[in-house]
Symmetry: C2
């Protein structure tokens, strides 16, 4: 039953487009899910994709456009007139429409909004554009079903039915007072089983989770996940019900956040994909590499100050990459665990306990690795014991330092209000490389003397 994209399918679509056979094409595509059509469009060249968008109904293409990558969507929209774009927006939920408008150039933005026929829809879109895109206000849609607490159950049925027409999935009916302030919610079941002469205020549930327009997206995600919510209402500063966030949008948000964190940890500072242009990829990757290069310069300087060791103990330099690699790996491990703890709000206990635990863990790991290093070094590389001891002691010290840096740098950044994810990957490895080398040669100087 699964839709499967194939070279043959793409070839057939391209044939239809070339032959301007819009009837066949429409017949075939109307049967497909919009997400599948989006997958097809991503394989077509721009002119063909635009042709397909133009021959399909706007209620279908509006959904297709939402499924496309931002880059592909931008290209297709550039081929449409402001009026055509406005036509697409009319068919979209307000949250999707606002996302698309936000991607347009400032001039085009105003022109497109001006072409939207439904004035309320246009107002809603403009309202949503005011909020930060990663806040609840930026994530919510205006579409929802609400009833006034003072209405009678029977009286509001037709009103509700009308509202529900504009809402893809109802989830919950929200209850507001005369000033539109959120009071509670109503399940469809309660409504159906309520006596017909009852008032809404008699039957609604006054316990309802909600967020403010300014609540950050990751906090919304945490709440919806913790309480297994499929939708959450959003209120403004006055407690007025202004929108609703549904779980399918949160799933996309959670996925994007996870990808962003992952990329950040790998030293990629913009959202890029393997299909992004070389220019985009360079912009995302080069800054971190320049940071690493700067760190590299410092390590050259540090090593330079120990050049007196080269004559008597040149083999010390052979162990530099080993020491640096261990410092980098330990630091990345520690920072990853702390960052996930910070993200999940699960970091408990005092800083002192954390410090003692990290030192204990590092001593344990360090001891095992030092024994392997000294044993392996003496057996395989023929080191003498004094030299092995030097490298072993350095390794343990470097591991302790690296794990402390990896643990506490993110915690300190978080306390300073800086995104602690900045501290993963290149930043931690670079600092730990430098500290590791410094510690290593200092200990070597102490033990071996040079």
């Amino acid at each position: 039953m699964q839709f499967q994209i194939s070279k043959e399918l793409i070839a057939k679509i391209e044939e239809w487009v070339q032959a301007q056979n819009s009837a066949e094409l429409r017949l075939y595509l109307e049967e497909l899910h919009h997400a599948d059509i989006a997958e097809i469009l991503e394989e077509l060249d721009l002119d063909d994709a635009t042709y397909v968008i133009k021959i399909l109904n706007t209620d279908k293409t509006a959904e297709v456009l939402m499924e496309l990558d931002e880059d592909d969507r931008e290209k297709i929209l550039n081929n449409l007139t402001a009026e055509e774009i406005a036509g697409e927006l009319e068919e979209m939920d307000t949250d999707d429409a606002a996302d698309i408008v936000a991607e347009l150039d400032q001039n085009l933005k105003e022109e497109v909004i001006g072409h939207i026929q439904d004035e309320e829809h246009a107002d809603n879109i403009v309202e949503l554009l005011r909020y930060d895109e990663d806040s609840a206000g930026g994530l919510m849609a205006k579409e929802l079903v609400k009833v006034n607490e003072n209405w009678s159950v029977t009286g509001c049925m037709s009103e509700m039915r009308e509202q529900a027409e504009y809402v893809t999935r109802v989830h919950s009916i929200y209850v507001v007072d005369n000033k539109d302030r959120l009071k509670g919610r109503l399940s469809l079941k309660d409504l159906l089983t309520a006596p017909s002469d009852a008032q809404i205020s008699d039957v609604y549930i006054d316990k309802v989770d909600f967020v403010s327009v300014h609540t950050p997206g990751d906090e919304v995600a945490r709440i919806m996940q913790k309480y297994d919510l499929e939708a959450i209402p959003v209120v403004n500063e006055m407690g007025k019900l202004v929108g609703r966030i549904t779980i399918d949008d949160m799933v996309d948000f959670i996925k994007e956040e996870a990808e962003r964190d992952y990329q950040m940890a790998a030293g990629i500072s913009e959202d890029v994909e393997s299909s992004s242009s070389i220019w985009q990829l360079t912009r995302a990757r080069l800054p971190w590499l320049i940071l690493a290069l700067a760190g590299g310069f410092i390590s050259v300087e540090v090593l330079g100050t120990f050049d007196s060791a080269m004559e008597k103990h040149g083999e010390l330099f052979f162990f530099v990459p080993l020491i640096a690699a261990m410092a980098g790996n330990v630091g990345v491990q520690s920072s990853a665990i702390v960052l996930q703890g910070l993200a999940n709000n699960s970091l408990r206990g005092s800083l002192l306990n954390r410090l003692l635990k990290e030192i204990g863990l590092s001593l344990l790991n360090g001891a095992v690795l030092a024994i392997l290093l000294i044993g392996g070094g003496m057996l395989l590389l023929g080191l003498n014991f004094e030299f092995g001891l030097t490298v072993g002691v350095s390794l343990v010290s470097v591991i302790i330092t690296a794990s402390l840096i990896g643990t506490f740098v993110p915690i300190i950044l978080e306390k300073q209000g800086i995104d602690p994810a900045m501290a993963t990957g290149p930043f931690i490895t670079t600092s730990n490389d430098i500290c590791g080398i410094l510690i290593y040669f200092s200990i070597a100087k102490l033990i071996l003397g040079f």
Copy 2:
């Protein structure tokens, strides 16, 4: 409106527990959401937490138990008898109950299942235990609402109502034939508006997304996310409807997968948290560190073969950490992008195109970095041009190699059926360290001669 855990709250709870004041405690906790109670339990010591679990109703505690960390849950369950555990399981949905049973020791497992009163519930749990926990079968619950296509609309209303009692959220009503094979679905709206003498077969929608019990979890997540599904039915090998997966379970799954990938990239091979024991943390971290140590040994050997350079060009060794760090960073960036492409199924185009693109990208990044390195090296470190050129050319070569290794190792692993996430982090950095040093000294030997 948000529940906020605080030291005062925990102190109050502990006071009630000490005073065995079960009435107050029950009164307070019954008002709380089960996820909030779970948060409180995680702050209490084991005896206090067990006391709380014992005084609450099983319908509440069953939900609380599901919200706890696996470790905390295990400890509390160890304090309960098999009969008490069975009582909790009776109140849980089959998927949650099966997850808990799977965590028990083999002996206890059988004893607990034997104590479950509801035989059908017990059978369902045993059935779910047969499936791999990361497959659709392992993720699904048996609870769902289904109707036979041959029933009349009015005839099945009471049957449906009865089924719905055991299902937290209905989402969709599934339609099956006489052999229980999935035929389609029915929306509540369709059902309410259908003429009362209609048969189910007249009104149901025969387009329905479904997965097989053997579909891997990440594929289920991809389908549900792509088509914005809130629930998906699961069929067995004969097309029989056997269960249903809901979006809230998939949200947890997606989150866990993302955390797993993140940890894997950081060289952490088991699911650990900052609160895990030192022993668990060591088990998760040490294997990768041993791998890095082994890589370090190889780099010592490689450097050893170039020791003739030390006399004439000792400063070459000062640049080793810089070269190794750049190789590691570039490799991690490349592998992160490819891995996300593989995970999202969005890696398109031929391998040759990918190869050319990576080389182009590396040349661009490498050129910028080499110019900075040569310029900075001559100005800040006083290098001569020949030496600067050596390091610069090496840097470009190392960057190209590292990005190719980072790109193609995951692709090759994926083709071999090995989890490509294994190739991130420590593995890529270690291989790139070694290759980088080898390339660097080979080029240096060529240009400088030693």
